[in-house]
């Protein structure tokens, strides 16, 4: 076999956000700002991503993509899966776009997919350039990015059972109702509010703060915060 054995390596990020009503995923529209004749048809939406630079750690590349796009650092970020099929670039439009965008001759890209959780209200720097797509309804996307998003949703649904990931999606202060709604959306089922409150009342790292809702036409809700230090301490104790 004549070997070249050097595919390009990229990272792609499935970035989740929660706006209070639904779970969203961040997509980039390749056509924004282009004249119609230059636009890519028909699947112009893609995940944010980048080639991995020479001498750059793969995980670091994912952090860089997040930073460049949202301006945020210290974001919850996990490797999801490698998508390494040789026919990932089989759609001609995608391949053309990639060659133009990178100004390189590219035959193959192996991508490392990540998923990230952000506090949506904080990520405003990227406003205008991006689309927050509802996860209930993911359209066809560029490359195999729709598969990647679905894989990300599956991973999130699994992990949320064992890790307090929801607090990465909620604002710093939040109500029990917001917390419950988020769990309901991610898990795709409803909870009894009393039983929900009972179960979370055992979470010592969930702490009421000295503040309530204002200007609401009903009994104002107590705000809570996630005490990350307490969580890490309790977790450590548990493993001893």
């Amino acid at each position: 076999m004549a070997v070249k054995l050097n595919p390009h390596v990229s990272v792609d990020c499935v970035i989740f956000g929660f706006d209070g009503q639904s779970l969203k995923v961040l997509l980039i529209d390749r056509n924004l700002g282009l004249t119609p004749e230059k636009q890519t048809a028909p699947n112009s939406l893609k995940l944010p991503g980048s080639m991995v630079y020479d001498d750059e750690d793969v995980d670091t590349a994912a952090v860089r993509v997040l930073k460049e796009l949202t301006g945020l650092e210290n974001i919850y970020l996990q490797q999801l899966k490698v998508f390494g099929s040789p026919d990932r670039l089989s759609k001609k439009d995608d391949l053309d776009w990639l060659q133009k965008a990178t100004r390189m001759t590219i035959n193959r890209v192996v991508t490392v997919a990540y998923y990230a959780l952000i506090k949506l209200h904080k990520a405003m720097p990227c406003e205008g350039k991006v689309i927050w797509q509802d996860t209930q309804n993911i359209p066809e996307l560029a490359f195999d990015h729709r598969d990647i998003v679905i894989e990300g949703l599956t991973a999130l649904r699994k992990e949320v059972q064992y890790e307090p990931l929801v607090f990465e999606l909620l604002p710093k202060k939040f109500t029990i109702r917001q917390l419950q709604t988020l769990y309901e959306i991610i898990e795709g089922r409803k909870f009894d509010n009393r039983n929900f409150r009972k179960s979370i009342s055992r979470w010592q790292y969930l702490q009421p703060i000295d503040e309530k809702e204002k200007n609401v036409a009903h009994k104002p809700a107590q705000f809570y915060r996630f005490d990350k230090r307490a969580y890490q301490r309790l977790k450590k104790e548990f493993f001893e």
Copy 2:
């Protein structure tokens, strides 16, 4: 930035086996069969792996490595994690070995790690060429392979909680005691035998067969088998 952006991509497999007493991981000794002056010092042990061929799916490369090494197909195989630090090849011995083994000039390799579960008694084809290392005691290995093994153990311990992976490690017919021992080793804790039997008695996919132990100096144990079809049917029903 002057970009080359084309690291080599490899796969490495953490292959677990269970011999009835302990959990083992398969390692390759690079020095076997070499004269002393040609040997790599001092960490000659490595994980089985390969470069990903041009036009070869990354997952397929992992399947190929398993097939070439053990002769086995249809092995339980999962992506574990990508190890993509640029200084993975920082040990000079490792880099030298790699250049010789591949006959290529290589600066960087991004590897996709997998973990696999095999029925140890079946994997005899690879006898002699490999070492089955006890997972209680993983020595320093080539590259970052020790980190990869530890990551594999962590993933196995987590997954075994939610998926019936143990049956991939046990022979086709096995006793409840073997099953319990395997869980105890993987999870690193002891179970009460009565409570263990009670909990697994609910597993409809665990079926007694018409055979018992022979030639044992005590009451012979009942053999059981894992009914994969039943498991998949029950799992499907559960999600509806």
